[in-house]
Amino acid sequence: MIRQFFIQTGRYILFMEKVFRRPEKWKITARQFIQESDKLIINSIPLIALISIFIGAVLVIQTAGNLQSPFIPKMYVGYMTRESLVLEFSSTMVCLILAGKIGSNISSEIGTMRITEQIDAMEMMGVNSANFLVLPKIISCTLLTPLLMLMSVFLGITGGYLTVLFTDVIRIADYIQGIRYWFVSFFITYSCIKTAVFAFFISSVSAYFGYYAEGGSLGVGRNSTRAIVITSALILIFDLILTKLML
């Protein structure tokens, strides 16, 4: 088990070394980057949007339910909703969801290419397959997932707003005041960095497990599951580490 851990980690590092070589032609990498961004990030927008709106709505109701004391101003409902979204939900939870969505996509796609010898075919041509296939995915995820996070914060707050608008949990003016109360811009930076780190793990670890898939379609499925489990664990561990370091 421990031996396996070191073997896998070593192989992962060697794999990354192969991924981060200088591309044969930047033009090809750029083209792939655009395609991957569309497939991985743009395609995730509806899912993340839907989840964020609903979570925002639920957060408002739950926080309002917990802040019954007349001594606490109602605007704290808005404030706490915003903070929960910025600090944890839109970064960590969204990335856990993306680990499932993007991660399984990447590892099954690359795994299938491995078992149908497409990767061998690339290597035979002298193309660095790891670089060609994986680098655009990693760049795309690491750069663009923070934007998804910002979108999620915005839509979560909107979801809360709609709840306030259509129910009578608190007054709309209180909610708005809470949303604008004590805004620490560093929290956004912190969240962006967290998201970028998580997105790097999602793309690179699932690519790694796809790249070394063996044993036919069963092996691809097995490695795809493994990739999601390990990325999720990494996200949680690094959530703790980064929070301790940065806050």
């Binding site: 090809i28 290419m113 149908t116 010898e117 497409q118 061998d120 075919a121 035979m124 041509m125 002298g126």
Partner: protein
Amino acid sequence: MIEVKNLYKSFDGREILHDISTRFERGKCSLTIGSSGSGKTVLLKSTVGLHKPDSGEVWFDGTLFNQAGETRKKELHSEIGMLFQGSALFDFATALENVMFPMDFFTDMTREEKMDRANFCLQRVNLTNVNDKYPSELSGGMQKRVGIARAIALNPKYLFCDEPNSGLDPLTSIHIDRLIQEITQEYDITTIINTHDMNSVLEIGDKIIFICQGHKKWEGSKEDIFDSGVPELNDFVFASKMARTLISERNR
């Protein structure tokens, strides 16, 4: 010329290739034959470096492949055209883009030039009207032919074909065999073909290597194949009625 010396390969302690030594001449089609599971694909992949041999040497025109440096290996790879047994076309690209793929990486041709070249290659394998189709929309035989077109796209110095005509009708099959022979002679390519098709052997086999359970049992020219005196090879050769008829006619 490619030379293989004392090649051994095993998987998980099971020996697949045992002491294979042979030579593949330039400008000739060398055919590796043998029954299913005899180790032809493993031999081919060990020759091109997709499998790491346990021991033995592979020489590509004076370069010892296993010990070549990164850059030399890369250079060699761009001179190799390879057709995989399962075609291995890229799912993300159309037939035309598949053929253009190696050109994208290793040439500075304009898009038009690349398309012209790709079209030319596809025409040579008798494929038209499939340019915009994805591999999943092509029949197995069509995929094979796109695979061949891709393998010859960059005018390789070495051409490896793993069963180029399995799954093709007899007519296309002969056409593909002739095509491979033609370009081999035209561009002076070192060509290695895995096959179990006796037709191909008699049609284009300049040199035949017979593999049986990982051992090289015989090698020679197609003229001698009927008189090899190797029982396993005779079983293989005379499995088809056609060959039996042919030989009885010759003996008469």
